[in-house]
């Protein structure tokens, strides 16, 4: 079984982003970038399925400029077999990303697509669902457990009320939640090996997909900051503040 894992290059999750003074966006100059944490979990899950003898090949794909090759190499070091970069300088919406991924699915014919539930920059949480819609596949979003057997995949999903398990006919799309697994670190020998694994580059505009977005960002502002509060001396003081000053308890 072939598994396709779409991965995104995003700001490192430890970085506190700053909004540009002209409110045109956030400042990404000289900021540490990384593989989106949910994509890392997706790669790990695919590698575990390969180690379990269920998957035979793992293909990772990323859409973006040359810099995304760094994250593709990371994914290869974690155990993916080959990588595809769809090259573009444009910042795409989830819909355009999903349309391009649908073309990759058509070419590669994977049995399973595993991807992140959310990119921690846009916080969109859309692409997996959109890809599933465009390819007519079933979707197992926010997965905390994935079991593949006999042409089906059972996905346990983290939902607002607890957990839900669905069964999907393969091929299917799975999106990862935090509890699915704990990703490994790439070992030095694997990082070296990853440099020799195949990485194909194709122009994103060669797929016949209109890449322009219908959604325009008018401004990006910093959120209202909270006033620094006070440290109190004891519980009695806290209770009286909550009652008499904040009036949030009675």
């Amino acid at each position: 079984m072939k598994i396709l894992v779409p991965v995104k290059r995003v700001i490192d999750y430890n970085v506190k982003v700053r909004v540009k003074p002209d409110n045109s966006g956030v400042d990404l100059a000289n900021v540490k970038m990384a593989l989106n944490p949910f994509c890392e979990i997706a790669v790990e899950e695919a590698v575990r399925l390969k180690e379990a003898g269920i998957a035979t090949e793992i293909v990772v794909v990323s859409i973006g400029n040359k810099l995304v090759q760094e994250q593709l190499r990371t994914a290869l070091a974690l155990g993916a077999d080959r990588a595809i970069q769809l090259d573009t300088e444009l910042t795409l919406d989830s819909l355009q990303v999903a349309k391009l991924l649908a073309k990759v699915v058509a070419n590669e014919q994977p049995q399973l697509v595993i991807m992140g539930k959310q990119a921690i920059d846009s916080d969109n949480n859309q692409t997996a669902q959109m890809l599933a819609a465009l390819t007519g596949m079933g979707q197992g979003t926010f997965a905390s457990k994935v079991v593949v057997a006999e042409g089906k995949v059972q996905v346990t999903r983290e939902i607002d009320g607890g957990l839900q398990t669905v069964e999907l006919t393969l091929p299917a799309v799975v999106s990862t939640d935090l509890r699915l697994n704990e990703p490994r670190y790439a070992s030095l020998p694997n990082i070296m090996k990853a440099k020799k694994k195949p990485l194909d580059v194709t122009a994103a505009d060669s797929f016949g997909v209109a890449l322009e977005s219908k959604v325009q960002t008018l401004s990006v502002k910093a959120p209202e900051s909270r006033k620094a509060g006070v440290v109190l001396s004891d519980v009695a003081e806290l209770v009286s503040k909550l009652k008499d000053e904040a009036k949030v308890i009675s």
Binding site: N124, E167, P223, V239
Partner: protein, 308 residues
């Protein structure tokens, strides 16, 4: 211009998020239709007719929609949606699962987690874990939005909108509901509670979360958690507050043994009053807390329970 809102319900009652989403839709200044897709969902549909602002309730009652399988519900909504200017659902796990599928089927973008409506085509939403607030304008023919419940008031009840039964069954046959394990609790729901007390890694284990119960009882509070507490298995996943968990904005949020990572703050920093209890005076949570107590939670929690 007519707006379609997708109701969130469990067949027998509407979820609080539905009232908030209708309220957001009403701000767009147009007629609102509320879709109740489910199985044996007449009671939920009757409640939907009572929501002020709704001019028509559409009911699709079929086994195909019983468990809100995204594949089937999205196919239904996409078919209905062609006649609407906007399609809205709550940014809950149900809405997030289904609505992007609708947007893709309609070949339009989705705008996620809307926190304010600037005009019929311009919306405000947080990005980068709430560290930036973007205002975006959509030129799509149909605007598809998920709405963050914590940012909107609930639409009141007292209406009696017309109910129209739909005869559209979409069973894609690619997915099947297997089982569900829902967390049972007598407490208010996290996203609806006026008071929340959350525990983090500092709680040390699941048993110690009992220290929060007495306080939660006295304050009629919901209990939440940080990712670290969920990952460590102290409490179930549905208690996670944060960027990738639940977004809450209660009147009072008490963070106990939580350091205040940006991903946690993203889920609670719009609370009216924040209290932090942490033994580390340097913990970032104190930068957003209105009131802080620096000390050992194992001494402070029993004292707090006794003092309330």
């Amino acid at each position: 211009m007519t707006i379609l809102v997708i109701a969130e319900h469990n067949n027998s009652s509407l979820k609080a998020d539905t009232y908030k989403t209708v309220q957001a839709a009403s701000l767009l200044g147009a007629e609102v239709h509320l879709l109740v897709a489910g199985e044996q969902c007449q009671t939920a549909a009757a409640q939907a007719a009572e929501v002020v602002g709704v001019t028509k309730v559409l009911v699709a009652d079929d086994a195909a929609y019983g468990h809100q399988l995204a594949e089937n519900v999205a196919a239904l909504v996409a078919e209905l949606g062609k006649g609407y200017s906007h399609i809205l659902a709550a940014a809950t796990t149900t809405g997030k699962n289904m609505l992007p599928r609708v947007a893709a089927l309609l070949d339009v973008a989705q705008i996620s987690d809307v926190i304010a409506i600037a005009s019929a085509d311009t919306f405000v939403r947080p990005v980068y874990a709430g560290n930036a607030i973007a205002t975006v304008q959509s030129a799509d023919s149909i605007k598809v939005l998920t709405v963050r419940s914590s940012a909107f008031a609930a639409a009141p009840t007292g209406n009696s909108a017309a109910i129209e039964k739909l005869d559209i069954v979409k069973e894609l046959g690619v997915s099947r509901f297997v089982s569900e394990e829902l967390t049972k609790s007598e407490r208010p729901e996290l996203t609806a509670a006026k008071v929340i007390i959350s525990g983090g890694r500092g709680m040390q284990n699941g048993e110690n979360f009992a220290l929060l119960n007495g306080i939660a009882d006295k304050l009629n509070a919901a209990i939440g958690a940080s990712r670290a507490a969920v990952d460590a298995g102290f409490v179930p996943n549905d208690m996670q507050v944060g960027q990738t968990g639940k977004i809450v904005a209660p009147d009072l949020y008490i963070a106990v043994g939580i350091s205040g990572a940006i991903q946690h703050l993203a889920g609670m920093k719009d609370s009216k009053v924040i209290v932090a209890i942490n033994k580390d005076a340097e913990a970032p949570i104190f930068q957003v807390a209105d009131y802080g107590l620096v000390g050992d939670l194992f001494t402070i929690l029993p004292e707090l329970e006794a003092a309330l």
